[in-house]
């Protein structure tokens, strides 16, 4: 087979490799209703679990009476903390070094907390039995405000009483969890003290929730004959779940198989371990039958992993000309009843210390105090790397606040403070090494694309018209330049429960030149089966269409830490390229043998190795693959497979420039997005169509968060937004059109230069929307107002500024 009829470009195009907007191979089954989600799993004799949950936010559990529930035909068991205690499973470790009740052990700490677990033969019987469990509560004083909690005599975590040392250092108060400090405190305070200009604000990023389309759930199936437990579930990190289940259950890890089937969105909600998993595993071990547990929507919103809830007090110092000289931030972090944040172990506030953003700030200091309150535990990275959206929102608000203080244009203030392209790799004042960037180019491109100067003129005219009574609508221009930190991460400083955050890929080339690749990650909609095949296609010259991707089965996939924090492409994507390169290296030796030349005398050419200087003499990868299985090649083992475990040398630092143009009705608080421009630089672009889809989805979630989505509590600790009537999920109607754009600054340390993109649009989108609201009212004196910017809160801004006459 010496076909030379196609040009190298044509051969490359046939591979559908990197840079190709290849259609998502997953969508064939999803669009035909043929996906296989955890609730689709049906097994013989399967039982169903359901929770009795606390109606109170803080109460003592005086008694639990199971009698009536157990008397209901079809009820198999009712588990309480008392039943789990002999197994040591009434509490479980959290990812943040704390522990969490699996079932209420004497008291409850948030509304919706799991009190008892009912197991029944039928989903309906389980629900009926939940109603029959009689729980007597004695209400306790409720703390929903973290500042109050730090002053209150009320002890939330009685189990920790007297413990002055937590997982992350000293505890200052019985409701205090940790203090985390980064940077130069004295130096920053000295800069603030001597600065020409200091702007100070409290920036609150409210509590919200990832709210994936599919809620959390699992099916636990213990085979008493083989002693093997199979656990199907909505897990974003199946291997880590296997290890956690082994550690807390005492089952040997080889006897546990964790399978994540198709997952209907995760966004961080499905990273942690939940009581439902533990109870289902226990119930299956006890009964010897499969046990299914699936959350409903209200349970998902009330009890599994919230996001944000950061009170960020900031001070920013600058010269009169606007050159920033220092940044100070003290964050009060509301973690709810248990510290179940999903962060790398050494980072109890995630990567909040990326809060110097895109700016060259010489001196900075960050302190974060974690606090217990009577709210649900969590604190996950909702479509962002660990606390990066909080950091980006903080700095992008502080820049706007400083611009107001300086009476400067906020675009220009950003421009004069950006880290310059020639400063990379850049050491930030809070300890990161930014790998690459070209912020000025991206910024200028963005401003030009939206016609920034004209927009400002239009806005000025609008203000005049408003004052003259000609219009009741204001125009806001929301600017954001964000820098993400993703791809956790280097094993030297990133681990979860002691597991280094590397990732993996194993590739097996079949004799006929097709392949299967397995990864330690798990797609929840990101399109891994599409994009990772493209990486392999470009690296080894086999068509992406001939490569199967498989993830999520711990019995077959190599160990990895899973998919969240935009880490799949930076870490597992790198492992994929490295495994492919191992295969290509062996293929080179096979090709040289077949062509009867020295290894160094062949060179790679898209999908083949050719003899240097004689391109008509070559072996395609397809030919090489077959030879690997049918030739006895001296010095080479048969077969063509490779595995790579990739420990990244650094994080990647995607960045972008987002601009939102918003119309606001001052009388009703209603808003309309007139234009949204999103420029992303995620380094090398594997599949432009998937990137665009990620940006559309992420900006839409950002719109939701900024403009209405929240988990709100009343003073009794009742969740006020527990259904989708009140919890804002935009429909097509509320979602604007987006303009996407890009620059390409490849990561210098990543094998293919890719940086990750899934979470950039949320990180950049939230401040862009919020800044647009603030910007509309800036001419009337607004400095800072808290999200979410729903109708009544926008109306209140206008009302407070005297715009209602």
């Amino acid at each position: 087979m010496n076909d030379q009829s196609m040009t190298p470009e044509e051969r490359a195009a046939n591979l559908k490799g990197m840079g190709c907007s290849r259609k998502r191979v997953e969508d064939v089954r999803f669009t035909q209703g043929k996906g296989n989600y955890v609730d689709d799993i049906k097994m013989d004799g399967m039982l169903f679990g359901d929770f009795v949950r606390s109606p109170y936010a803080h109460a003592r559990v005086v008694s639990v009476n199971k009698e009536a529930a157990l008397a209901l035909p079809g009820v198999v068991a009712v588990l309480t903390a008392e039943d789990l205690a002999p197994l040591g499973l009434h509490w479980m470790p959290t990812l943040a070094g704390d522990k969490q009740m699996v079932l209420a052990d004497g008291k409850v700490l948030f509304q919706g907390q799991e009190v008892a677990y009912v197991v029944a033969e039928d989903r309906y019987i389980a629900a009926d039995a939940v109603d029959l469990v009689e729980v007597e509560y004695e209400e306790l004083p409720v703390l929903t405000d973290p500042f109050e909690a730090l002053k209150s005599d009320v002890v939330l975590r009685e189990d920790l009483e007297g413990q002055t040392e937590g997982a992350h250092g000293p505890r200052k108060h019985h409701n205090h969890i940790f203090t985390w400090e980064v940077g130069d405190k004295d130096g920053t305070e000295a800069v603030l003290g001597g600065a020409e200009v200091v702007a100070e604000e409290m920036v609150y990023y409210h509590r919200t929730h990832p709210c994936p389309l599919e809620t959390c759930g699992c099916v636990a199936s213990m085979d008493k004959v083989t002693g093997k437990l199979t656990l199907y579930g909505t897990f974003q990190a199946p291997h880590a779940i296997r290890t956690v289940v082994s550690l807390i259950s005492g089952l040997a890890e080889h006897n546990i198989r964790v399978i994540s089937p198709d997952i209907g969105g995760g966004f961080g909600n499905k990273v942690g371990a939940y009581p439902g998993y533990v109870c289902s595993v226990v119930a299956s071990i006890v009964t010897g039958k499969p046990v299914k547990w699936i959350e409903d929507r209200m349970e998902n919103l009330m009890s599994t992993a919230f996001a944000r809830d950061y009170w960020m007090h900031g001070k920013i110092a600058a010269t009169k000309e606007g050159k920033i000289t220092g940044l100070w931030c003290h964050t009060t972090a509301d973690h709810g009843g248990f510290d179940a944040c999903a962060d790398p172990t050494k980072f109890p506030a995630g990567f909040m210390n990326i809060c110097t953003g895109s700016y060259d700030i010489p001196t900075a200091y960050l302190a974060v105090d974690g606090v217990y309150t009577n709210k649900a535990p969590g604190g996950v990275a909702y479509r962002c790397s660990f606390r990066v959206t909080e950091a980006a929102y903080f700095i992008e608000r502080m820049i706007e606040v400083l611009a107001i203080k300086l009476n400067m244009d906020a675009a220009e203030l950003r421009r004069i403070n950006f880290i310059r392209a020639d400063q990379f790799p850049y050491q930030s004042a809070l300890g990161w090494e930014y790998d690459s960037g070209d912020y000025h180019t991206a910024w200028d491109k963005a401003l030009k694309a939206v016609g920034y100067e004209d927009l400002r003129k239009e806005q000025a005219q609008r203000v005049e018209d408003f004052k003259a009574g000609k219009t009741r609508k204001l125009l806001g221009i929301g600017l954001t330049h964000f820098t993400e930190i993703v791809g956790a991460g280097p094993v030297k400083n990133c681990d979860i429960l002691g597991l280094g955050m590397f990732d993996s890929c194993e590739i097996r080339i079949h004799p006929t030149g097709s392949a299967i690749a397995r990864l330690g990650t798990i797609s929840q909609g990101q399109g891994h089966a599409t994009t990772f095949a493209q990486i392999i296609a470009s690296e080894i010259g086999l068509p992406a269409d001939d490569i199967t991707l498989e993830e999520g089965d711990t019995d077959t996939a190599p160990y990895g830490l899973g998919t969240y924090g935009s880490r799949s492409t930076p870490v597992a994507g790198a492992a994929t390229a490295m495994a492919a390169r191992k295969i290509r290296a062996k293929a080179q030796m096979i090709a040289a043998y077949l062509l009867e030349v020295h290894d160094d005398d062949v060179e790679w050419d898209v999908d083949r190795f050719a003899v240097k200087g004689a391109p008509e003499r070559f072996k395609t990868m397809k030919e090489i693959a077959f030879a690997a299985y049918n030739q006895a090649i001296p010095g080479l083992e048969p077969g063509l497979e490779a595995v790579s475990y990739y420990d990244p040398p650094n994080m990647t630092y995607p960045f972008g420039a987002y601009i939102c143009v918003m119309e606001i009705d001052v009388d009703t608080g209603e808003w309309e997005i007139r234009q949204f421009y999103a420029l992303d630089d995620c380094g090398t672009r594997i599949n432009p169509m998937i990137i665009e889809g990620q940006v559309h989805g992420g900006v839409t979630e950002a719109l939701a968060i900024a403009m209405g989505q929240e988990i709100a509590y009343d003073e009794m600790g009742n969740v006020k937004t527990g259904t989708l009537m009140d919890f804002f999920i935009p429909t097509a109607w509320e979602t604007p059109n987006y303009t996407t754009d890009h620059t390409v600054t490849p990561s210098p340390h990543h094998p293919i230069g890719a940086k990750g993109v899934g979470e950039s649009p949320n990180v950049g989108g939230v401040p862009a929307f919020s800044n647009a609201v603030h910007d509309a009212f800036r001419p009337f004196g607004l400095v800072q107002s808290h999200m979410p910017h729903d109708h009544w809160r926008i109306w209140k801004i206008a009302n407070g500024l005297g715009l209602h006459g």
Binding site: Y124, D296, R297, G669, T721, H791, W792, K796
Partner: protein, 277 residues
Amino acid sequence: MIPAGFEYHRPTDTASAISILQEHGDDARVIAGGHSLIPMMKLRMADLAHVIDLQDIQEMKGIEIGADSVTLGAMVTQHELITHDGLAAAVPIIREAALQIADPQVRYMGTVGGNVANGDPGNDMPGLMQCLDASFELVGPDGTRTVAARDFYEAAYFTAREDEEILTRIMIPVPAAETGQAYEKQKRKIGDYATAAAAVMVGGGSASVAMTNLADTPVWSEEASAALAGGDVEGCVAAMLDAIDPVADNRGPVEFKKHVAAVMLRRAIARAMSRAG
């Protein structure tokens, strides 16, 4: 979100439905589109042993357009209200309001009878029916009676309908040709109840004004209507602001709702006036 067990009945005529209601009393409820009752059952806030589905009762379906009056069967869906051209010609405000209820999927199932009979202050049709001076036909064990929409609502979820009665038909006088009509609604998102909504008819020296979700019942104000009939827009708004009694919830505090109520009402008046002949 799993309802307790219940028995499902599907009668084919009104009399049968009433006899099932009589037989089971408090344990039974009729179900039309189900968009209010089923969520309540799933939340176990409504625990019913018997659910009587009205969808096979032909006599409760259909739209009749007369010269002076329009009659809507209680089981007419919001979708049917929107797509009926004769209705749109006779009483255009109904299509305008129905298009602002929920979303297309809900409107395929949700019925006008269920919307007016449930007594939920968030529903759009009760205020609209008061504005239009509609009346409701109630059929019970003792026969048939008619109650004006303006007299029907007593408090949230409490109406003039007796437990063993079924609301079967809605009669609407066709507004005079010169009447301008408008329905204005502010909501947080598609699918939401109104933060505030206003139904306005004006023209030919008469007017009628009603508002939604600003008290525990729909609010039709005789005084506001009279002021508008006399051309006094500010008097109309002031009278309506006196009549409403909003409460704070996730849509906002009372002062905001009152402000928005006035804005919605003024906008509806302006649009209705622009349409008046």
